[in-house]
């Protein structure tokens, strides 16, 4: 092999940039080995958490010494990617902790579960750091394939299998869209590198390249659950095991958003209005859909759609005004960090309730939760208020930053529409709070005695993070 090439690819910079991925991959391999040896198998949780923390440590190191481009300019470990990496790892860890309680009774293939779950953040990191459409594609598949399996992981429940299948079929469709778009772009420009593509875009794309970009954007909107590509969300979120839903709702969305923000420069400038319109329509679809739900998991799924719409405003703002790229990225990061803690906490509570056998996915059955399990109800209230963007929670500042960027990009009408939508959102979040605190319990259920220390710790950390981001946001804003 050419020694120059080796130097070019395997230097210290490259090692630092890839350290998070390599750590996760190493952990994944060790998990596979651990399956063979019963004595080591007990250490599996340690291995999992260790890999996540190791990867997080590597990401923090990258925050201080970012690497803009490695591997021949196909992968970037800049500050934003490192922050995104931390968001993904947090989302995975929350999902994993709740999965431990969730599967305690049924224990199906916990080893496989952990392996698949550990592969997901690798895929997300590659998506967020990709500077090349091929790298993004590999990341997308590395994320999606484990998720297909995880979504149908509860084979004893037909809804779970249905969710997995739905997610697979629609995911395959969106991947198909993506590849078709890539083919068109390549045919038109002869390159897959984002750097080269942005030069080509500056010189003027051919119509074929524009069509290709439209396909690529479409597939990203699928992952982001944007109207009209959002219809799979409620079914899949509801059917999938709740811990997996956590990952899909937070991590996947963040990864797709990170890459979308990276490629806005390749879209025509006139698309800003269209994207903003899609954002508002998504908010409308999500909020109006959530308004009529009686199932809390579905309600949160629709609310996730609405949040995706809010996030898309950032994409539109970044497209409308090229100067706002830093502001849009930091707003997106803060929003997603808050959303991981908030939605992760809320879905986590649902997983906890389900694990306790309360079948608590109906809003109806939450009645009287405020008296039965006051701590849980208080945490749920906090998460819902944060989703609604009430101050002193992370959700408020997240909303502030998004609307601030939107107004700076002179998308005033869309910002007003978005604000009006969040009134509808509060209406259904309040409905849940009303059920928990203000309506009498239909039948008295004794609180289960089983202690779930891990779920409790995860919920407490999420709640603390939500409050911290709301009251002392500089802790997070300083990082960005």
């Amino acid at each position: 092999m050419n020694p120059d090439l080796i130097d070019q690819y395997f230097n210290a910079e490259c090692a630092a940039a890839l350290a998070p991925l390599v750590t996760l991959a190493g952990g994944l391999l060790l998990l596979i080995v651990a399956e063979w040896f019963e004595p080591i198998n007990r250490l599996r949780p340690l291995l999992f958490v260790g890999s996540i923390l190791g990867a997080a440590w590597a990401e923090v190191a990258l925050l201080n010494t970012p690497v803009p481009a490695v591997l021949g300019g196909t992968y970037s470990a800049d500050k934003a990617s490192a922050m995104w990496g931390l968001v993904f790892l947090a989302s995975t860890l929350i999902a994993w902790v709740h999965a431990r309680s969730y599967y305690r009774k049924s224990r199906p293939f916990l080893g496989e579960h952990d392996m698949l779950l550990l592969a997901a953040p690798m895929g997300m990191m590659m998506m967020a750091g990709a500077l090349d459409l091929t790298v993004f594609f590999i990341g997308l598949e590395l994320l999606s394939i484990p998720l297909y399996c995880l979504a149908s992981f509860r084979r004893d429940r037909s809804e779970s299998v249905e969710a997995g299948l739905k997610y697979f079929v629609l995911g395959a469709f969106s991947v198909g869209l993506f590849l078709y778009g890539v083919a068109l772009v390549y045919a038109a420009t002869g390159t897959l590198s984002l750097t080269a593509l942005s030069e080509a875009a500056a010189a003027g794309f051919s119509p074929m390249a524009h069509v290709g970009m439209a396909f690529i954007l479409g597939s990203l909107l699928f992952k982001l659950s944007i109207w009209p590509f959002h219809l799979w969300v409620p079914d899949v979120y509801q059917g999938a095991p709740t811990p997996v839903t956590i990952l899909m709702a937070t991590g996947t969305k963040a990864a797709a958003l990170a890459f979308t923000l990276r490629i806005t420069g390749l879209l025509p400038e006139s698309s800003a209005g269209l994207i903003a319109l899609l954002a508002v329509l998504t908010m409308a679809a999500g909020n109006l859909g959530a308004l009529v739900q009686s199932n809390l998991k579905r309600l949160l799924a629709y609310s996730g759609v609405a949040h995706a719409g809010t996030l898309l405003l950032l994409v539109a703002a970044q497209r409308a005004s090229g100067d706002l790229s830093y502001e849009a990225t930091s707003a997106a990061l803060f929003y997603m960090a808050a959303y991981v803690a908030t939605a992760g906490g809320a879905f986590g509570l649902l997983a906890w309730l389900e694990a306790d056998g309360e079948h608590f996915t109906q809003i109806e059955s939450l009645k009287g939760l405020g008296r039965r399990r006051p701590g849980m109800a208080a945490a749920m209230t906090l998460f819902l208020l944060s989703l609604g963007g009430i101050p002193a929670t992370g959700g408020f500042l997240a909303k502030w930053m998004v609307f601030s960027v939107t107004l700076d990009a002179h998308l005033t009408g869309y910002a007003i529409a978005g604000v009006l939508m969040s009134i509808i959102a509060l209406a259904y979040y309040l409905r849940v709070i009303v059920a928990m605190y203000m309506e009498p319990a239909s039948d008295h259920v004794a609180p289960p005695t089983a202690k779930r220390t891990d779920a409790l710790v995860a919920t407490a950390i999420c709640a603390a993070a939500v409050l911290l981001m709301g009251i002392l946001p500089n802790v997070f804003l300083g990082l960005i």
Binding site: S404, I416, V419, E439
Partner: protein
């Protein structure tokens, strides 16, 4: 630690203690709440006494770096001027009485109630004490949540409807204000004002051209008009008041509505004087209309709490009318009327609450001849009613008088129209009083009613004394506000001069006002 911070967060600390205390004895929890609110009241009064009314600058200020949004620095900044010190003190004084009155009607989930009550106090005090726009917005929305729970859990039979209506109405306003706040902050940042300090933003905003001010003013004004509530945004008030438990009604009437009028004064007029001058005729008309409309609504009510709620719409019409007259007298009267309405309406709610606890009916027709069995109640009730209708010698008179003078200077027609509200006010409150207290005892249950007990007298007597004191000595309060209000009038007049010179204003509008 600074006085204002201590004052604001002491109740939150109390809430934490009440929430986490392992002791399950309700009396201990109530005792802690009463103690904390009383300490806050004492602190509030001492701040009031130490406040120098001749100055217009903020006093007792404190500023700490908080966080950075883009290029803008947000500070944790506290400080009060002559307007906010009055409302701050009113809040601090009212809360121990609210806590004491809750003993009568909050019988279940007491611990939760006390936690919300204390958090509510922190939110309200914070609104009046914050000197940073973002901090203000924080407190503004945070104060919404506790009241939501107080109304929703301990309210009357249709509480859920009223609660959600209240929350969504005010939230709609808050979110419009949020957009205005964000737009204001980002435009100011583009102009080089990189702080969300209210004084700094005011200096910047009040000199921007009229077109720029218009939309920002509209965003703020709608939010505050909903909170006041100004006609036509008043419909949430009657439901919320009626369904709220007594303590909730008192908080709503006594303090929460003042947050709206305070905001109009501080942000609407203070920050956007040019837009406010242009919008003044509209607001004066809405205010005057609200006075009469609220009074007419009140006349038609058969439910006592609804009647008091409608009277609030009427009384707050005066506040808005006097405020947008933009004269020395009008503004002074308006601020004074905020305090007066807070005291006398709270009194009415507290007294009727005591009656409601005995009979559990809000219908006026259920009563009659109460004075014969409850003489103490009758005395205090009549006192509160007279203070509310503005009998000379009691507090209500001074505020209304100043407002009418201020309005007359600007527009005799509107002043004449508004004066009819005084008559209507006397009509509905006195006739309700007659039906409530006097005449034959029509229901047997009334005969066995017990008069006010020591606790209830201890709640209402000090407030009545305060009403009398303000009625006799209004100068003390007016003096405290004079520095701030003079500065405000000065700013408005300067803007008016600039507008006339620059022909920014349509002369026709000026004519209309006169």
């Amino acid at each position: 630690m600074h006085n204002l911070t201590l004052l604001t967060f002491l109740p939150a600390l109390g809430a934490l203690i009440v929430a986490l205390l392992p002791n399950r004895d309700e009396r201990v929890l109530r005792g802690i709440t009463l103690f904390v609110t009383s300490v806050v009241a004492v602190l509030g009064v001492s701040l009031f006494c130490a406040f120098d009314g001749s100055q217009s600058a903020l006093q007792f200020t404190q500023s700490v770096d908080w966080f950075t949004l883009g290029k803008t620095n947000v500070h944790y900044e506290m400080g009060v001027d002559g307007i906010s010190i009055l409302l701050l003190t009113l809040t601090a004084i009212l809360m121990p009485f609210v806590a004491l009155s809750s003993l009568g009607h909050i019988t279940e989930r007491t611990r939760e109630f006390l936690v919300w009550l204390l958090l509510m106090e922190t939110g309200m005090l914070g609104v009046f004490a914050s000197a940073d726009l973002v901090l203000f917005y924080f407190f503004w929305e945070v104060s919404l949540v506790p009241l939501y729970f107080i109304l929703g859990i301990w309210g009357g039979e249709r509480r859920l409807y009223a609660t959600v209506k209240f929350f969504l109405f005010t939230l709609a306003g808050s979110l419009l204000m949020l957009l205005a706040v964000i737009a204001l902050v980002s435009q100011a940042a583009a102009d080089g004002v990189l702080s969300t300090n209210i004084a700094g933003l005011t200096d910047w905003a009040s000199t921007t051209p009229l077109e720029a001010q218009f939309w920002l003013f509209a965003g703020f004004a709608i939010a505050f008009a909903i909170k006041v509530p100004l006609f036509p945004f008043h419909t949430w008030l009657a439901d919320a008041h009626t369904q709220a438990p007594t303590s909730g009604s008192v908080i709503l009437a006594g303090v929460l509505l003042k947050m709206g009028t305070y905001g109009l004064l501080r942000f609407g007029i203070g920050m956007f004087p040019a837009a406010a001058i242009n919008a003044a005729p509209l607001f004066m008309i809405l205010g005057a209309f609200g006075i009469v409309y609220g009074a007419l609504l009140a006349m038609a009510q058969t439910d006592m709490k609804r009647l008091i709620a409608c009277s609030s719409v009427s009384h707050l019409g005066y506040v808005v009318l006097g405020m947008f007259a933009l004269t020395h007298a009008g503004l002074r009267g308006s601020v004074l009327q905020m305090i007066n309405h807070g005291l006398s309406t709270s009194l009415l709610f507290l007294l009727f609450g005591a009656l409601y606890e005995r009979r559990h009916s809000r219908a006026i027709s259920q009563y009659g001849g109460v004075a014969a069995v409850m003489p103490l109640f009758a005395f205090f009730w009549v006192f509160a009613v007279l203070s509310s209708v503005g009998l000379p010698g009691l507090n209500g008179f001074v505020g209304e008088w100043l407002i009418l003078i201020g309005t007359f200077q600007r527009s005799p027609v509107l002043a004449t129209f508004a004066v009819t509200g005084v008559i209507f006010g006397a009509v509905y409150l006195l006739s309700a009083t007659r039906r409530l207290l006097f005449g034959e005892i029509t229901h047997d249950e009334t005969r066995s009613l017990k008069d006010l007990n020591t606790r209830e007298v201890a709640i209402v007597a000090p407030l009545c004394a305060l009403c009398l004191w303000i009625g006799v000595q209004p100068g003390v309060l007016i003096e405290k506000t004079s520095g701030s209000l003079d500065a405000l009038v000065q700013r408005v007049e300067d803007t008016r001069q600039g507008m006339v010179v620059g022909n920014l204003v349509d002369p026709q509008t000026e004519e209309d006002v006169r």
